[in-house]
């Protein structure tokens, strides 16, 4: 145990370098900075916006439209009296991003039911989604006015009939059924919310797998490159202890690094997310998910955590073997690729296809990739598919044990010194 602790200490010290600490601190600061900037931009977009309005009509109806916009938190810069060409020039140089042109005869056209065309000119100074929000809001104000005007007209012409019944003679009510639970809501919304909830799993998995595996592969490759491996293999310590110390150190540092990155990522997303939540975008979603039982209880979180943990162990064991194949630090950088593909395949498939519904050979191929299982866990938990869950956990555990036994065999045999995978070079026998 003393020898193992000695080795583990050395492995951790090697991984926790000044460069790593600086890079983590820099990431946290950078993401927080970006988050704060984004937050300000979102606040600006959600808050009071300045638009220019050229009212060529000057009727009570056109004034009502502008008052409606003011009540929707718009500051109106009145361009009345200018020609359209001149009015277009004003916002081009000014602070407003949008020019609204209300044509002459707008008010009377509403009464005669011969609609006049209103024009909007959006000045795109950036191409961010937030930057284009002003025009979306103006459009929604116009639709609200359209709705209100048509309702008034229908109520006047056909008293006693609900205008909504005329405009939408067929009404629909959507229900979602998940197993034995049912709730009112759309399937689209549920799918969207589930994908939002599950978004973090692949991100966490990708980050930890990437960091930890890279560390293990580099740790073995660096021992080879610095010619320290041979000495280490002849000291009185079990080969399995060497493997375990390297994996444990990389796992710990990888977990902490991923945690720090997630914290930074949260700081970044918080900038936008908080405002979105405040705007009530998710309102109603949570209660719908609860009604359908689509949320994690403690058991759910434990199972998900266990699945992620096993996936990390599998990645570390694979990285250990790939590290043996690497000749030096440079080739170690390439060795991470097969692992990354193994994580990316189920990730992208889970984005575009229902893994449970694909053809059997494809399904078997996906299930054979150990990293597919953490992606499937949340779905299977929601659907109460415990056979798949336990099957996945057991499979990952078996793969981990097989890989560790294989890694231990490699470390205990000549292969640790003779196994090499060269890129672009011919293989040569050991000296």
């Amino acid at each position: 145990m003393k020898r193992f602790a000695n080795l583990l200490r050395k492995e951790i010290k090697e991984l926790v370098t000044k460069q790593l600490i600086i890079s983590l601190a820099f990431t946290v600061i950078l993401f927080n900075f970006i988050g704060q900037v984004s937050k300000k931009e979102v606040q600006k977009a959600v808050g009071v916006q300045t638009i220019s309005a050229l009212d060529q009509d000057g009727s009570p109806a056109s004034r009502a439209l502008l008052t409606g916009l003011e009540s929707a938190r718009f500051k109106i810069l009145d361009q009345s009296g200018k020609s359209k060409e001149l009015a277009v020039e004003t916002p081009r140089a000014g602070e407003s991003k949008l020019l609204l042109v209300i044509p002459e005869g707008f008010g009377s056209s509403l009464e005669s039911l011969e609609p006049k065309t209103m024009e909007t000119y959006s000045f795109m100074r950036t191409f961010s989604l937030i930057g284009a929000r002003g025009q979306v809001v103006v459009q929604s104000v116009i639709s609200a006015l359209n709705e209100s005007l048509s309702n008034n007209f229908l109520a006047e012409k056909l008293p006693g009939i609900d205008p909504q019944s005329l405009k939408k003679p067929i009404k629909s009510k959507d229900f979602v059924v998940v197993q034995d639970r049912m709730a009112e809501g759309s399937a689209n919304m549920v799918a969207g919310l589930i994908s939002q909830q599950s978004l973090l799993i692949p991100v966490v998995l990708m980050m930890i797998v990437m960091y930890s595996s890279q560390m293990v592969i580099s740790a073995v490759a660096m021992e080879k490159q610095n010619k320290t491996l041979e000495t280490l293999l002849t000291v009185p310590i079990k080969r399995t202890s060497i493997i375990t110390a390297k994996m444990l150190a990389a796992g710990l540092v990888g977990l902490i690094s991923a945690g720090v990155y997630m914290f930074a990522f949260k700081g970044f997303m918080g900038g936008i997310g908080e405002e979105a939540a405040r705007a009530g975008a998710l309102a109603g979603g949570e209660s719908l998910m609860r009604q359908l039982g689509l949320y994690f209880d403690t058991t759910g979180y434990v199972v998900l955590g266990l699945s992620l943990f096993l996936a990390i162990l599998v990645a570390l064991a694979m990285a250990m073997i790939l590290g043996v194949l690497a000749e030096d630090f440079r080739s170690a950088q390439n060795m991470i690729m097969p692992l990354m593909f193994m994580v990316m395949v189920p990730y992208f498939l889970s984005l575009f296809a229902d893994i449970n519904a694909v053809a059997l050979p494809v399904k078997l191929f996906i299930l054979a990739i150990p990293f597919s299982h953490p992606f499937l866990v949340s779905q299977n938990l929601y659907l109460g598919n415990w056979t798949m869950i336990f099957g996945g956990l057991a499979y990952m555990f078996v793969v981990f044990v097989v890989l560790v036994v294989f890694a231990a065999r490699v470390f205990s045999s000549d292969k640790i010194l003779t196994m090499k995978l060269r890129f672009g070079k011919k293989k040569s026998a050991a000296a």
Partner: protein, 249 residues
């Protein structure tokens, strides 16, 4: 004289390629035994097998009268191995590296201190008793050391535990004259304290001064073995280089 190591019929193949064709030799207690031969002769493969890094394809090795293949943990406790062109962890300070390595062998903190002190005395003091260039540098990172300094640090590491058998692969390879001389002095000094040494070199002249007995090896076969004086007399040669040339005929 007691044998520390007995090697009989040692063969090693890497797939189709055979590196050793069945070699025999012994290392006696308290002697320096050298395997000499050109590059690719099979010296490093032999040393790696004895250091438990590679497994023999055939043959028998007995270390302190125990089966070397069956008891690798026992062997690792009693030997130390200095590979050819070995390095130390570059981000570690010299002293920290010695402590790290001592920790694997020491059973108590006192023993660890004893090992480290011995290593410091080997690495930092010359034969004359004057401090070596490494004396003031043990507190700095290994990555900043010259090749000679790194080699002396590693040699000190290999000898600090007073191993029963120190296996040194080309201990002076790539060193300048002064550093090579210091390394040879260190080896001779510590053999007197009871450590047996099995070393390899392609520098036959230096081996002549350093070794008690030598084995000439070429293309995986031992050509001849004995003390340098015996071999020179047998082959009517002035030095071991001439002995080697004569053995090849």
């Amino acid at each position: 004289m007691t044998h520390v190591l007995t090697v009989r019929g040692l063969k090693k193949s890497y797939g189709q390629k055979t590196a050793l064709f069945g070699i025999d030799f012994d290392v006696r207690a308290g002697e320096v035994f050298a395997l000499i031969g050109p590059n690719g002769a099979g010296k490093t493969t032999t040393l790696r097998i004895i250091a438990t890094l590679l497994t023999a394809t055939e043959g028998e090795i007995r270390f302190l009268d125990r089966d070397h293949r069956k008891e690798p943990d026992f062997v690792r406790e009693k030997i130390s191995y200095l590979p050819d062109e070995a390095g130390a962890y570059k981000d570690m300070k010299g002293l920290d590296y010695l402590r790290f390595m001592a920790n694997f062998y020491a059973r108590t903190p006192d023993e660890e201190k004893e090992f480290v002190d011995r290593a410091v005395s080997i690495a930092a003091r010359r034969e004359s008793g004057e401090p070596s260039e490494l004396a003031d540098r043990l507190g700095t990172k290994v990555g900043t050391y010259s090749k000679g300094m790194t080699r002396k640090l590693l040699l000190a590491r290999a000898l600090m535990t007073r191993p029963t058998l120190a296996i040194l692969d080309e201990p002076t390879s790539g060193l300048d004259v002064i550093n090579a001389l210091e390394v040879r002095e260190i080896v001779r000094r510590y053999v007197k304290e009871g450590t047996s040494v099995l070393l390899s070199s392609h520098n036959m002249l230096e081996i002549e001064f350093l070794s008690d007995r030598v084995a000439l090896i070429d293309e995986g076969r031992i050509l001849d073995s004995g003390t340098p004086a015996e071999l020179k007399a047998k082959h009517s040669a002035q030095n071991l280089e001439e002995v080697f040339r004569s053995s090849l005929r």
